[in-house]
Symmetry: C3
Subunit: 129 residues, 3 copies
């Protein structure tokens, strides 16, 4: 299995994401459901986007570590942020958990009208280990 993070000529480059990620089989693909800023009992960890983002990223890391991987194995994540908020604190959380030496995943970001009770963001992901 090979994974290549690509930024083809003609598309801008960003340290925050790759334009696309190419996975050649065979691979172990992990579909991670929407993760929120909740603790091991499912309770919201705090009222700020920064806290919730950090916790959601940590939950994704926990899932991947349980399968012998790490955040670096994410190939695409989709981030939904509650409308009216700025995602700046989420970016700061990302910088806290992400090793800059790793090529970043493809990303999708939407501001949505609503999420589950108390949730300020939700992140789902596909990872390849």
């Amino acid at each position: 299995m090979t994974v290549r993070h690509i930024n083809p000529e003609g598309l801008h480059r960003s340290p925050a994401f790759s334009q696309a990620v190419v996975v050649e089989q065979p691979a172990k693909t992990i579909y991670i459901g929407g993760q929120n800023g909740v603790d091991a009992e499912g309770k919201v960890v705090g009222p700020t986007l920064g806290e919730q983002s950090l916790q959601a990223f940590r939950r994704i890391a926990t899932i991947l570590e349980s399968e012998g991987g790490s955040l670096a194995n994410v190939v695409h994540w989709r981030i939904a942020v509650l409308d009216g908020l700025s995602f700046e604190e989420g970016v700061a959380a990302f910088q806290q958990v992400w090793d800059r030496a790793d090529p970043p995943p493809a990303i999708t970001v939407h501001f949505v009208a609503g999420l589950g009770p108390g949730f300020l963001l939700e992140i789902d992901a596909v990872a390849v280990v």
Copy 2:
């Protein structure tokens, strides 16, 4: 091909979803486009979220059955519900179609500002047969 539904230590467990689903290749992967509560002619089946949810789940089942699978083969679904509605009726519809003996898929739920005309929800999915 193996499919494992995982709920790693440190993340809460729910009868309604798995935290992630691990697929080891080779597998047949089915990408199911956003399904709505519409009939075989594409007409909306009714004005309630319960009716539309049930129909969307049935359409996904129809797609999977045509490929030798069933709803149990879904590994991740993403549910978009029109803003202002409660998803309770959708949960009831899920309970009606889902065999509790099967490990549930990973899930993402967003409340969105709008969907196609007359649609109260849209469900897309990835399944592995």
Copy 3:
């Protein structure tokens, strides 16, 4: 690897999308992050949904061409349109870039409360080459 676009009995057919796409491994899977109507420097190309849609489709084509594919290799795309807009101009852009001889991808369309600054739509995609 085989890719089959399916429209099972009991679901309506549309020239604009397939109900689902079946991928049998081994395949090269490409996860394309949310593409917007921006140029090679990341600047928004124009203030209309038509311009932005066309550019987002072209960016996806650029990504796929860099991997020996084309738009025809997309198996599922998810389109988020800013709330309050009609997607008609996006459909016109799709018709401009899409070869009608190719079976269309599975599709998800949401109207969302917000996107990045200046963006009227965002399209992410999974492709199989």
